[in-house]
Symmetry: C2
């Protein structure tokens, strides 16, 4: 807050780019587009990516992480994310995004062509991005189910 006023425009542009990368991540999931999703994660193996789906153990490396998304997409007929409480914390070439994923999803029906029952789910995520020559790429995604409210924290629920 107390320094760096001269490059506020640059910081604002960076934050907007990070928020866009974060949104693109969820939109690729909604479309079930594994190619698009693969391109949003850090490439190569110089920096090991990691991913935790709600209730899952840690997955590490592009092979393991992308296989998990292929599996999830194959078992998800419909999924939509309503993101709330999006907060970006950034320094240098690393950005940390926290958000609440209000999820509405449905699997394939068990007996034929119709959609299975829709399920609502409340998940919070910490997404870490790295700046690359090709834009901000995911380094880590950690999602977890919200099992209880903490209403007494409402006075400070606006991360910046």
């Amino acid at each position: 807050m107390s320094e760096g006023h001269d490059d506020q425009a640059e910081v604002a542009a960076d934050i907007a780019a990070v928020e866009q990368a974060n949104t693109a991540f969820y939109e690729a999931m909604e479309r079930g587009d594994l190619d698009e999703l693969s391109g949003l994660w850090l490439p190569g193996e110089d920096l090991t990516i990691s991913c935790v789906h709600p209730g899952w153990p840690v997955l590490s490396g592009r092979g393991e992480v992308l296989r998990s998304y292929a599996l999830i997409m194959a078992n998800t007929e419909y999924i939509q994310f309503f993101l709330t409480d999006v907060g970006v914390s950034m320094t240098g070439d690393t950005a940390l995004v926290t958000c609440t994923e209000n999820i509405l999803s449905g699997g394939p029906a068990e007996d034929g062509g119709e959609l299975g029952p829709l399920v609502g789910q409340l998940v919070v995520a910490t997404n870490v991005f790295r700046r690359t020559g090709d834009g901000w790429k995911l380094w880590s995604h950690h999602g977890s189910p919200v099992l209880a409210d903490s209403d007494d924290d409402d006075d400070e629920d606006t991360p910046s």
Copy 2:
């Protein structure tokens, strides 16, 4: 892997320092030492810290995060962490640690001086650290319950 062989010793020292900071974080929890714990998180408000306890929503900023630890410590008579699958991924001044927290904990007994029943819990965590002049400090902690095994991923469960 393919470059930077000349500073391998430096990288190894960095990784050791990050692992030590990660261990110190859990040891402070085990001792219920809130002052020690407070000093392990990034100071000030230039970079917003965030924390997700298993099943909780996102907490942001030192006030909210440290209050949650005070609350947890007040309600935890005994807690021990056995860390497994510790993986460090690092670039520049940011390090990302993933680990499995095998937790054994007990609350105060409801009727008097004895310890409450001990409970085992399996949690996975993504901890993000930043390098500071005073060592590596926590920027983000996200812990979540492991609700199901994924035995078919055993061939790749050694993050580096």
